[in-house]
């Protein structure tokens, strides 16, 4: 083991494993047998003089010592496994490292990411939109699943590309409307019906989709027992007939 100064261009970067976290700046690039780099992949590769720690060992053995696969994020682990020639469950090639890290930062499992294999045609728009929106993990999971469904529904990229991306919530809502147009339309009609009803003052009525069921959610601020009594009595006067719950 020795510390040397070398020209970065003389090193062999072929392993090209990009861990999610950058190699700490104060540490030298780690190089195994045959000048193969095993740590410090994020360093500039055109520098004339770089500090390296050369260890006379098989590079794969060194990599295994440096990175614990149990601690790697899902796509990071795939990149690592790919180096050893192990079969991997997802085609990583099309996706940029930045996007892979974006997904890994949300700790999305491979099952959730499998639909990406069907979205390669939409790579650019998908990466840009998702990264711009800074979705939460669950929003990301839902978006990838819906987008794959839209692909199988034969929808064009333009169908979702131009959706309002002001905030993640409204974007996901718009995506759902695209994916479930009939149900979204029926839910909307029910909301309109609710809006047309004379709800007691202070009561808010909302038609809410909860999984496979649409439900009426009533919200009211009650300040005391008398108010509660009044509100309940007024609600009882409401005629929420069967028609309300039946499809239009």
């Amino acid at each position: 083991m020795k510390v040397l100064i070398k020209n970065a261009q003389d090193l062999d970067w072929a392993l090209n494993f990009h861990p999610r976290r950058p190699w700490p700046k104060p540490l030298p690039i780690v190089v195994g047998r045959n000048d193969l780099v095993v740590a410090g992949f994020d360093r500039p590769r055109d520098q004339v003089a770089v500090s390296i720690l050369q260890i006379d060992e098989e590079p794969m053995a060194l990599l295994n010592q440096l990175y614990d696969t149990n601690e790697l994020a899902p796509l990071e682990r795939l990149r690592f496994m790919k180096l050893s020639g192990a079969p991997i469950e997802l085609n990583l090639e099309p996706w940029s490292l930045e996007f892979q890290n974006y997904l890994d930062n949300r700790n999305l499992g491979l099952r959730v990411l499998q639909p990406l294999d069907h979205l390669i045609d939409w790579k650019e728009s998908l990466e840009n939109t998702l990264m711009k929106l800074r979705l939460s993990a669950s929003q990301c999971r839902e978006a990838i699943d819906i987008l794959a469904d839209l692909k199988f529904l034969g929808r064009d990229r333009t169908s979702w590309q131009d959706l309002n991306t002001e905030n993640p919530e409204s974007w996901i809502r718009s995506l759902r409307q695209l994916r479930f147009p009939k149900t979204a339309n029926q839910d909307q009609q029910r909301q309109q019906k609710l809006d047309s009803l004379p709800w007691p003052r202070g009561v808010q009525a909302k038609w809410d989709r909860q999984g496979d069921q649409g439900v009426l959610v009533l919200q009211s601020r009650i300040g005391g027992p008398d108010e509660l009594k009044k509100a309940l009595s007024r609600l009882q006067d409401m005629s929420l007939d069967k028609e309300m719950w039946e499809k239009q």
């Binding site: 699943d145 469904d149 149900t183 496979d212 069921q213």
Partner: protein, 367 residues
């Protein structure tokens, strides 16, 4: 139906009658192995491997219990169904098949030791002499699609003829009944068909018998005194669903009187979200099962909107009652709310259905 291309036989199954018949029928040279073939592929199969697993047959003795309670689904009314698995996998190819999300074996398996299953059942009966078990053989394998190789139907009919208080159900999408219909029976083996309108059969149930052939086979069974049953399950939504399902009901009613039908269960398309990946990989021309508007139900399965399901169920129930109110209908894997909406009653309030839902007390905690 899928033709087998590779045959594997466990050493303990080498001398079984089934092995001899399989070799004769398929003309395949068996590879003898006591290890599950292609075991390196075990786990979650890719779509391609799942398709290949239909072409590889492994004959082996089953170790462990054959007999267990139907797992049902969380929150659904339970109809006390027990399953007897005599193999795993199916040589037909329905787009919605739940086995796609369930099977992790790269081979189709047929168990060659049915005698052990009978011994287990006999012990169950001895321990629970009054329990009226309903036992189905079509949960992890179609009851009859490989029966020309196993001839298990004949052995099951003979076994159940000696235990008249029990009920056995063969559940199938084939029309292969002629090899057993002349077997003497006690009227407690029900032959049931999973049925759908011919449009769905053609587009989603690949390699199965046509609707007409299924109903004709059911008629032949009924003519030989076998009670028959139908499962209109999974109902699949499409633009003209109502006309097609009403026509299906008309076809059943035109061929079977209510007293010839033991039960008619109705259910709608459902599958776990994890199955979507393999559906996407194995997609055929029809994308209906994948692209329908399905939502996560309280049992964790993707289902149609609750109201749409109930509308579909009600339409079928109404059409049957237009013919006769005597057809014994029940919902499969549905919530109490769906029963209420469809029948305006819970299952235990409906005459003829109630008995199926009365809890069975058994001595075995494993059940």
């Amino acid at each position: 139906m899928t033709q087998f291309e590779e045959l594997f036989v466990h050493p303990k199954s080498l001398n079984s009658e089934i092995t001899k018949r399989v070799i004769e029928h398929t003309g395949l040279t068996p590879m003898i192995t006591d290890r599950r073939p292609y075991s390196s592929l075990e786990g979650r199969l890719t779509g391609e491997e799942f398709s290949k697993s239909k072409k590889r047959l492994y004959l082996l003795p089953h170790e462990g219990h054959f007999f267990r309670k139907c797992p049902g689904t969380t929150g659904a009314a339970c109809c006390n169904y027990f399953v007897l698995n005599l193999g795993v996998h199916c040589n037909m190819n329905c787009s919605y098949c739940y086995l796609q999300g369930y099977i992790n074996s790269p081979v189709t398996q047929i168990y060659t030791n049915i005698d052990d299953a009978f011994a287990e059942l006999t012990e169950m009966i001895r321990e629970n002499p009054t329990a009226e078990f309903r036992v189905g053989t079509g949960e992890t394998i179609d009851s009859l699609s490989l029966d020309h190789l196993t001839l298990y139907s004949i052995e099951l009919i003979s076994f159940f003829a000696k235990h008249r208080h029990l009920i056995c159900e063969f559940k199938t999408k084939t029309d292969q009944v002629d090899h057993f219909i002349k077997t003497p029976h006690s009227g407690n083996v029900i032959v049931s068909w999973s049925v759908n309108p011919q449009k769905i059969v053609s587009e989603e149930e690949h390699g199965t018998a046509t609707l007409d052939n299924r109903l004709s086979a059911a008629r032949r069974c009924a003519d030989h005194g076998f009670p028959v049953a139908f499962h209109i399950d999974p109902m699949i939504y499409f633009d003209e669903w109502r006309i097609h399902y009403e026509d299906l009901v008309d076809q059943i009613c035109s061929r079977f009187k209510p007293n010839e039908v033991k039960w008619i269960s109705v259910g709608a398309l459902r599958y776990p979200p994890t199955m979507k990946h393999i559906l996407r990989q194995r997609l055929t021309e029809s994308k209906r099962v994948l692209t329908s508007e399905l939502f996560l139900g309280t049992d964790g399965k993707l289902r149609y909107d609750h109201d749409l399901r109930n509308e579909m169920f009600k339409s079928v129930v109404k059409r049957f009652s237009d013919h006769s109110s005597e057809y014994p209908l029940l919902l499969c894997m549905e919530t109490g709310a769906s029963w209420q909406t469809t029948f305006e009653q819970t299952p235990r309030q409906i005459q003829g259905v109630k008995e199926l839902f009365d809890p069975i007390v058994t001595t075995r905690p494993a059940l």
